[in-house]
Symmetry: D2
Subunit: 358 residues, 4 copies
């Protein structure tokens, strides 16, 4: 259920409605919009009792939300959510595209700095790197942990990049929230509801990756778990789904971008690296993601991918990253977007790893 306040409703009136909702035994979620504030109501099993909400001062109307997700729905918040990082020009959502780049895993200070320097120079606003790695095998490299978080904190200071890194359980979640700017919840944890709730109680943006076989409804419901705990800064991320097709590691489902944008106000990024698992498919799919209307991309970049401890074959070279940024810069205006920092370095012809049709 949703209480839509009048445009001229005062903060006091909004607070009074919230208090009333608490008295009814539910939980209020005030969601300020450009025109007016809406207050989502959760905590009810089935249809909530409206009580006399409609008669309270400042209330325009009380409406039922028909979707299984509420706070993630455009019914509840019509304007796109834009996530800002105070004191920086980095945003996710809105006109500026968000570019997240970095290695799969932080392997060493040298490796991380070498990559960060190049992606920053090419215009990325966000640096990604795994500190805690969910690996299919218990015997595979599991990440440098806290040491990696510290390295990334240094990178933030040095290059002005916001840090995105994955938390794999409630313990690492608290650490990641302390050290990073955006908490990533991986595809395998998309329905780890305990982790989602815990993330919902933090006040850091959460980047939620789509599960390997998640439907759109399940994806939005997973976001709802975070929102329903009061954390309204959720970024969705498409990273490919599992199908019979075997020419890429997963099948990138770009059509979920306009599908999300129709139903939800949350921003959505695309990760062409995990989706394809193959270096030569990353650029075409990154271009396609922007053309489809995504709010940005998340790509794996490594200066020596053949030596990477994880996911080397899907990491692009820094020179390819520059090429990608140049391509994105040209496509962005078609979808009314732009790269906030432009592309600082140009592509040297000799460095080109050509991925375009001949």
């Amino acid at each position: 259920m949703l209480v839509v306040m009048k445009a001229q409703a005062t903060p006091e009136e909004i607070q009074a409605v919230c208090d009333h909702i608490v008295q009814l035994g539910y939980r209020p979620h005030p969601l300020p919009g450009a025109q007016r504030t809406a207050i989502g109501i959760t905590g009810n099993q089935g249809e909530a009792d409206r009580g006399n909400l409609e008669e309270l001062s400042g209330v325009a109307e009380v409406i039922r939300v028909s979707k299984p997700y509420k706070l993630a729905s455009r019914d509840v918040k019509e304007e796109d959510t834009v996530i800002r990082f105070p004191g920086t020009d980095a945003t996710i959502g809105g006109r500026n595209l968000a570019i997240v780049a970095g290695p799969c895993s932080i392997e060493s200070r040298e490796q991380a700095f070498a990559i960060a320097e190049q992606v920053a120079a090419a215009g990325a606003q966000f640096f990604r790197g795994g500190a805690y790695k969910p690996r299919t095998s218990p015997y595979a490299f599991q990440g440098l942990g806290l040491e990696a978080l510290r390295i990334m904190a240094e990178i933030r200071e040095r290059f002005g990049l916001r840090i995105v890194t994955e938390a794999i359980d409630n313990q690492t979640l608290d650490l990641v929230a302390e050290w990073a700017d955006v908490i990533q919840v991986g595809a395998r944890n998309m329905q780890n509801f305990s982790l989602l709730k815990h993330a919902g109680r933090l006040r850091k943006p959460v980047l939620l990756k789509r599960g390997m076989s998640a439907t759109l409804d399940e994806f939005l419901m997973a976001a709802e778990y975070i929102l329903s705990e009061g954390n309204y800064e959720v970024v969705l991320c498409e990273r490919g789904v599992r199908t019979f097709a075997d020419h890429t590691r997963n099948t990138l489902d770009l059509s979920i971008v306009p599908a999300v944008q129709r139903l939800s106000h949350l921003p959505i990024l695309v990760d062409p690296s995990h989706a394809t698992g193959k270096r030569d498919k990353v650029l075409p799919m990154a271009r396609a993601a922007i053309a489809a209307g995504a709010d940005g991309v998340l790509v794996e970049v490594h200066h020596q991918p053949e030596k990477a401890l994880s996911d080397g074959p899907q990491s692009i070279y820094p020179s390819q990253f520059v090429e990608m940024m140049n391509d994105i810069e040209k496509i962005a205006p078609v979808v009314h977007r732009k790269l906030p920092r432009g592309v600082h370095v140009q592509l040297a012809d000799a460095d080109t790893h050509d991925s375009k049709p001949r």
Copy 2:
């Protein structure tokens, strides 16, 4: 197996090699390239006997083809295949994007002409329309048949559009080959090998749609069926695959575009209409297809989609088609492509059915 001729080999030398291959009991497929001619060899079970092929005059080398498909492979023909339509500027493959547009089914002369006029004005080079419809239900509209073929032949004359239409069995194949410019083989018939062989004996380009659950190898092998009969003008078309995802009718697998381009010289189009099944997803996916490097798109356009006898919900309005063409025109240069005819009409603001992120 593949015989690569020397750059300066004469037509007589090429013919002599072909004759020799016939004598060995195999079938030669001379494939002229920009630099030199290669001659594919089919008809062998397992490894072909090279005989003394390498010693024939004009032969540079004889090489094994390791892929299960041969004639479809870049090993055999390195240059991209470009299909030309003599006497017109229409092409499929190469620098010019191929834009195929029209209604799902030809319903009447009026309907077909109304749509053709608008898509021609907006820069399409190809008109598509169903004469014979493969329908899931035996009780659904099955197409106007020969009458539709005749209407489309008129459209060719009137608007200078090349005609693409589907054949559903060997009988309709002969009729379609007689009346149309490009023979479409639908997704459900991608492994109708009898139909593929029959199409391979014709000398008209064939547009082969990917089967609903076809792997890349199976897709290229289906093309190989046509090529192996001597018809080298095959156009591939991605139209979505069947997965668990339910927000679109099928899941558009754009990563097959660079995957095909790496392995094969055949052009590949993308059909965002059948892939998504939803009007508001067609433009984002058409833009994404071009950005991913596709050789063109095939879209359903209807001036009155709410009255369409089939697939109305996925047909875009003519005004949306104009918007799509404008967007494609801007994205094309990023992938070194262009719209050969430009976009003749501009988008009237009032007509916009906006499909872009806000």
Copy 3:
């Protein structure tokens, strides 16, 4: 729409109703049941006009059929369809399980006879063997054609087995209908609607395999194509669907057995050989199919699978077939079924290729 006749309706009354339906411009399909006859009506677009059908003599009621398939539905025919082969004890559907066995392809008279003798001795009533093979590669063995049909006709005479073989297009369909007892339509042709209609005009039972990514509705609609042309003897066959899972060639979807039985009166067999693609999975899945309630199984048997020209790895040995028949004989009574011929030979311990859990 469906006209249900009174229990005591006379043949003349039934004929009069059929004539009336023809006058209304539709097509009548009289479907005799144990208690009374129903008459399916096809040929209408949308809702048919009932005219004064309900007032005709002998008519009990006229009911709407809500499913997209009509003649395949239990709404139209409540009793299970049982297909009989006059002059033999072979049936498909009903209490007796149908066991179809034989090699993937007929490779020679000797091979076919060797296998037929053993499967007949072990109690199979049907012999399967490919004469025309739909192969993914144009360069693979395509079957012996007419010669194979002649060999199988001899096998019918010699061993009393009914012959099941695949038709791959309209041409081979006529030949198969002439020489075999059951016409198989393969998975790749499940939506080859031209072939289905042609098969519907014949008067031979059709074994219709489920397409690799066909939903239950599409499967029944494909059957409806055959039924709607007047051939009411359709046998469905589950043979695995395409999924991400890679431990078997396809994923056998046994739950479609009770799902079909709930919605349709048509019999359904299971093919564990194509479903799994692996010899050691065939027996467990054959037992499971019978336990799930299937009307029988279709399995590939080869006396020298390591030398088979196609599908060797999934063909079971004759001794395994005997083992399978012994297992099925014991499971059958649990689902109120039986093997009509029993198992003539017993399993020699030495021959066991054990496939059971230890």
Copy 4:
């Protein structure tokens, strides 16, 4: 790597080898077999250094394990793992089938006792019931928590049933380990590696459900996570995978049963309730599971499914459970199995909810 000890090796020799492995910097996993003990080695990145292991007293041979999973592999332990519950006749694995039955969620003491009484009377050895429920929606019933664990502990005392219940995070894992006999890890948590490791440090059997889109390798690797921490009592459970098919909630992949049994020594159960999501499909699929060779089934039973707080439509009635047990009792001998407790109550004809083919 795997150290195979001689048949006559003494406990002291085994201990000495383990000590040596620790000295090499790895972790030893002694796995006693019927004939002799094998010692798995983990903790190595890539190939472990054999040192002079082969020369130690009592060592028969040192072999490389080629699979990505080691401790889960039959290479390392040839005999089937049988999990015993001291002081009871309940086992999982081996000749006796394990029957796990109960409601989706514990809703009240009355509900749980009513169901437990009936499933115990019909021969189940295990009672399942959700205390902590992973629900797609944050607004759905999330389980009674500790209260449910207490109710189930009472049920163990009263009816002699072993308790199986799900843990959804590290916190609930400790509680479940304290109160229950078998810890269930749900499909959504199959790759929650933090949870798996935590479960691996406990000394309670773990029932690991296959993820919705997990391959066989991933499934066994998830088990390996638990085994590698020293908990060797892992039970696998197939519960359906996500595919395009829409006639059941998931697609039950029974072929994974023989596939697991070929590669791994771990027992595997089948859950036909979650796999199908439909009451009328549960019995056919339970019969099929046993016929395919599963070590048992896990089914949802509810005395008033229409009032169930979760998963009512897939819960069978107690009378259907009796029918299932009667059917399983007859199929079991075909696969050399038996129901350890027989079926105490017989099926009253009047209660039959018939699910068999007519």
